[in-house]
Amino acid sequence: DVKVTQSSRYLVKRTGEKVFLECVQDMDHENMFWYRQDPGLGLRLIYFSYDVKMKEKGDIPEGYSVSREKKERFSLILESASTNQTSMYLCASSPRGSFHGYTFGSGTRLTVV
């Protein structure tokens, strides 16, 4: 069964901490994405990557960075966590050239206190 795995389901971090959210996929997909989900706002794209070491900003990249050193792993980094980054974070992947949508991970609910 193909999978996108996010390392943590729930995280609680303090304001100002550096936070790493990890995502690993076992489907050999080229494309990987990070979204955040907030009530009433749907999913908003933070960053995405079309290949190893490639990254592009999405619609709301401020306060975030990413790393893709290996094809299967895409990390989201909160350089200095703030309370307005409390959210559900969803990782997704898709194969290059596919039009069949994404496979999503189970999500990480991050609370910044």
């Binding site: 994405f33 749907g42 999913l43 794209l45 069949h100 949508g101 994404y102």
Partner: protein
Amino acid sequence: ELKVEQNPLFLSMQEGKNYTIYCNYSTTSDRLYWYRQDPGKSLESLFVLLSNGAVKQEGRLMASLDTKARLSTLHITAAVHDLSATYFCAVDYHQGAQKLVFGQGTRLTINP
């Protein structure tokens, strides 16, 4: 900038009734996706609509796409409780590179 709007955002209905969720989007695209999300869970793919006039059906759910009107509908027939979930539509706005913009989601509650 592509905007995707769903309505209604909240829908409470009785079992056995029919209803439709609407998804409007602001710029040209012929690729639209519907996802389902159960509480506390991730998103599950329901339908992929890849051309004007596309219609897909699975059980009591049917989705259609009108690219000229920039509108997709998700129709629920004779609703049952286990269809209670949040439904999202998403539009691909980056030709060939698949970058999805999501609607706000419609929270559907089906009461016995």
